[in-house]
Amino acid sequence: MTQSLGKDLLGLEPLSGEQIRLILDTAEPFKEISERTIKKVPTLRGATIVNLFFEASTRTRVSFEFAEKRLSADTVNVAASGSSVSKGETLVDTARNLEAMRIDMVVIRHGASGAARFLADRIESNVINAGDGTHEHPTQGLLDLLTLRDHFKRLDGIKVCIVGDVLHSRVARSNIWGLTKMGAQVGICGPRSLLPNSIDELGVTVFNRVEEAIEWADALNILRLQLERMQGGYIPSLREYNRVFGVSRERLDRAKRDILIIHPGPMNRGVEIDSDVADGPFSVILDQVTNGVAIRMAVLYLLSGGKPELAEAAKRGGGV
């Protein structure tokens, strides 16, 4: 049994349950750092990290940047627009140029599935996948797991239903792998045109109706509905989507128990989630964002060679 994460974090599919638990446990001591007045420890002092964002992102990019800065790493942000990428440079050339500058880690967000793996196979630096196409978004999956574990005090045996556009969702894939590896039961619910045909082969339960999903689940992970799916002909209208699959207070009230609500953001209020649900008492959507920083600190720490048992010490001020 290896506890080490290896060189890269490309997805949750290749990780074992042990490795996922290691990341979650390592995140615990890092949560507290963000609550301090001076939110900084010297753990990654001298490490150079590039945040390479080929797709627009606010939440994930800022979250990574805070995680890096709170660990005292030197960071550079590269966005696709305004970089040599917009001049036609290939991904492999971008990677080699960054490598030549002797960086330690790359955090990559890219529109093509497999882009993080592509980079990881070609450079020595650690690579963290911050979302690749419709493949995986492992740190989002991990922060969802941490948030669920905070609430339920366990992951084993809980029932989580992912609602929405699973077909195009990297968050859904990372959640399915992470939850099943940690012993949770996973449901998915959405219009059949937005669910992959072969999804049941991944060991999930498929619900056609959101009412059935609500009846079954302890928690709902509500996915953002990409507005362009309507133009793609996958659904007839946003209005109908809201009426058939939207998570509303009325629907939740009919459930026999309280259901925890998570959402990877950004939300389309009134489409996949109604405002009174998003802002309601069982929504932990902002806790997810807070946990995101701790999870990313844990991943950065572990990939840079940090020992999990030293995370407490690192928090108190030691280096890696």
């Binding site: 599919e13 290939t90 991904l91 492999v92 890219h110 093509a112 599935s113 497999g114 882009a115 793996r117 592509f118 690749d132 196409g133 419709t134 493949h135 995986e136 990297r170 894939r173 992959p196 045909n197 072969s198 999804i199 082969e201 991944l202």
Partner: protein, 433 residues
């Protein structure tokens, strides 16, 4: 006295005359002179006789590839007709048909003449041009089949693209009948396949890649078969990849519809699992499918539902494949690995025997496309391949004669290797000792 070649003591397999026995083959000038157990002794002492000891080797009619992309004109940095023809000879092919999706498109008699002339200058495997079905392969109006056939085109195809309009396909089948040539179609329903990068299934779901369902191929295959029934034209279905397509072809043949079909070596050997890890050398169109599809295609090669094996040789520049999977181009090189892949996955695993393989790689393609070759009968042009059916070798793309290096078989140990390729009585390829 014309030069002569003696291929001595090989296992001579010529399905066209049901020959499978140890024998000598004597070539005089550009023709097959004789086959028989004592031909060598009788020929001994001829002036200028070049003798190849073929003991332990197979001597067969030269392989014919009805589907390859030689990239000239337009992409000479990727492949030229000369490098492609030499790669073909190295793979045991004595003739190849060049698809017309060049730049400019081979859609007129002058372009056909250019391909033919470059093929002659290459002086390796014979090169037969295939003309486009539609002008510019735009799928709008018919290209000039009559003039292209007069200039040397042996078939028409818009390969690389489907013929979207059923009306255009119907007309092409009818018009091609006039000239006795097949219409070779790339079966792909474009709205279903749109944006797809691999087979639709569990692997595409896991990798987050847009899938191409089997039905994208099968819908067009049955459309074409039905249009061949309507018109009496000869439809040739390119690179079939699914069990469903095999069943549709069988349905058509049972009804004596004029349909023929090909399969590529990669579709009878690899599955969608090869895409795992986002290996762009496992990206082709149609995509690698499932193990069940592979089994159905292997069986179809055995029982003849699939008439022949063609490479779909598609060289790409290294840089083009060295990128994100969804953005990488489709296709792999195939001319120099086809024989070994076919022997490894079909013959060594006892799906078919060597005579059947030689039929599918030589006799059948020559027959279906009405080309010379596919036989060692006395008096025919001496297009002959000598290969070692047992030789194991490790695929090293750097050693290819093709300019393309894009192969999913790199580093694999395969069985079966060309030793000598003779085109028109001239040695076009000889393996290093």
């Amino acid at each position: 006295m014309p030069r002569s070649i003696l291929l001595r003591g090989g296992r001579v397999i010529d399905p066209s005359q049901s020959h499978d026995a140890t024998a000598d083959v004597l070539i005089v000038g550009d023709k097959i002179e004789a086959i028989g157990p004592r031909v060598g002794n009788d020929a001994a002492g001829r002036d200028g006789l070049e003798t190849f000891d073929c003991t332990g080797l197979v001597v067969s009619p030269g392989f014919v590839d009805v589907h390859c992309h030689l990239r000239e004109p337009g992409r000479e940095e990727v492949e030229t007709i000369a490098t492609g023809a030499r790669a073909a000879a190295a793979g045991g092919f004595t003739a190849v048909c060049a698809m017309p999706n060049t730049d400019p498109v081979t859609d007129n008699q002058a372009a056909v003449g250019f391909v033919l002339r470059q093929g002659t200058l290459a002086d390796a495997a014979r090169v037969y041009p295939i003309g486009a079905i539609s002008v510019g392969q735009r799928g709008e109006s018919l290209a000039e089949f009559g003039e292209m056939v007069s200039a040397g085109a042996v078939a028409v195809s818009d390969d690389g693209k489907p013929v979207v309009s059923a009306h255009l396909m119907r007309t092409a089948l009818e018009y091609a009948r006039t000239f006795g040539i097949p219409v070779a179609d790339h079966c792909e329903e474009p709205t279903l396949a749109h944006g797809g990068a691999m087979n639709e299934g569990l692997v595409s779901t896991r990798l987050g890649l847009k899938g191409i369902p089997s039905e994208a191929e099968e819908i067009m295959a049955i459309r074409d078969i039905l249009l061949a029934r309507r018109t009496g034209g000869h439809i040739h279905l390119c690179h079939m990849s699914t069990r469903g397509s095999v069943e549709l072809i069988r349905w058509g043949k049972d009804r004596h519809i004029n349909v023929t079909a090909e399969v590529c070596p990669h579709h009878i050997s690899l599955t969608e699992d090869a895409v795992d890890g986002y290996d762009t050398n496992a990206k082709m169109n149609p995509p690698l499918r499932t193990a069940d599809d592979v089994a159905a295609l292997q069986e179809a090669v055995r029982d003849g539902t699939i008439d022949l094996i063609a490479t779909d040789h598609a060289p790409h520049h290294y840089d083009e494949k060295e990128r994100e999977f969804a953005h990488a181009p489709n296709g792999i090189v195939g001319l120099e690995t086809a024989l070994a892949v076919n022997i490894t996955w079909l013959v060594a695993s006892d799906i078919i025997d060597l005579p059947t393989l030689i039929d599918r790689m030589s006799c059948a393609p020559a027959r279906v496309f009405k080309l010379p070759g596919g036989s060692l009968n006395r008096g025919v042009s001496a297009d002959v391949t000598v290969f070692d059916a047992g030789a194991k070798w490790i695929v090293d793309p750097k050693r290819f004669k093709s300019k393309g290096r894009n192969t999913p078989y790199a580093g694999q140990t395969l069985q079966g290797r060309t030793r000598v390729t003779i085109v028109g009585g001239r040695v076009a390829y000889r393996a290093d000792a």
